[in-house]
Subunit: 115 residues, 2 copies
Amino acid sequence: MISSDVIRGYNDTIILYLLIETPSYGYEISKKIKQLSNDRYVIKETTLYSAFSRLEKKGYVESFYQDKSHGKRRTYYRITEAGLAYYQEKCQEWEITKNVVNQFIKGVDEEWKQL
Amino acid sequence: MISSDVIRGYNDTIILYLLIETPSYGYEISKKIKQLSNDRYVIKETTLYSAFSRLEKKGYVESFYQDKSHGKRRTYYRITEAGLAYYQEKCQEWEITKNVVNQFIKGVDEEWKQL
DNA sequence: TTAAATTACTACGACAGACAAAGTAATTGA
DNA sequence: TCAATTACTTTGTCTGTCGTAGTAATTTAA
């Protein structure tokens, strides 16, 4: 599937991305990740929730409770200004990272196939 | 610069790539990484050498000593069949990973700038 | 010529993030 | 009504990175 060691540096970014449009909560976020990645990436629950608390500690998201008279209480998160700035930084970093890694990857249809 | 959390999953791949052309040793590999990445990625010594021993343990590289009558002895590494196969797997994985992460990245020139 | 810089490592320990396992608790659907 | 799903929390383990430090030979510059 996909290596979690690569994604490691981008879980926070992925979550922040999904919070840009609208505040959300764990379960919804995880569904969206699965869906937007075409089932190629399914974030683990513990990874997701620990990311939330890390992001909150850093001030990149804020949590709140939607008033929902009954039902298991959801913890919603919204992105902050700082979170958006961080997200933007990470996007730039990603472009660089992508180019760097690409330098060391031989495409499936390249000359090593003939070696 | 570049986040080591992203590169984490690809250090082994990067090293293997550089060993495909010719066997090499730590110092040379680190110079090549720096150079090929245009100074955007400089691997830490400890990271590099621990990668070597991990790769050797997995059978992806083999070490040997070049006969070099004097001077500090270098440990050379050459890639194995298994190492090449692993490298190729990782290349395919990278293509997928790249596409997945791209789904959650807004390019510098995209609509969020206007938000 | 000698001191500093560079080459070429090894050892140790700390830390962060991912994740497995297990538990809790409410809600919805068959 | 009982299983599946939703919505988490807690705990503890593991892997890879990296800071610090040390060793030792070689090359370069003052």
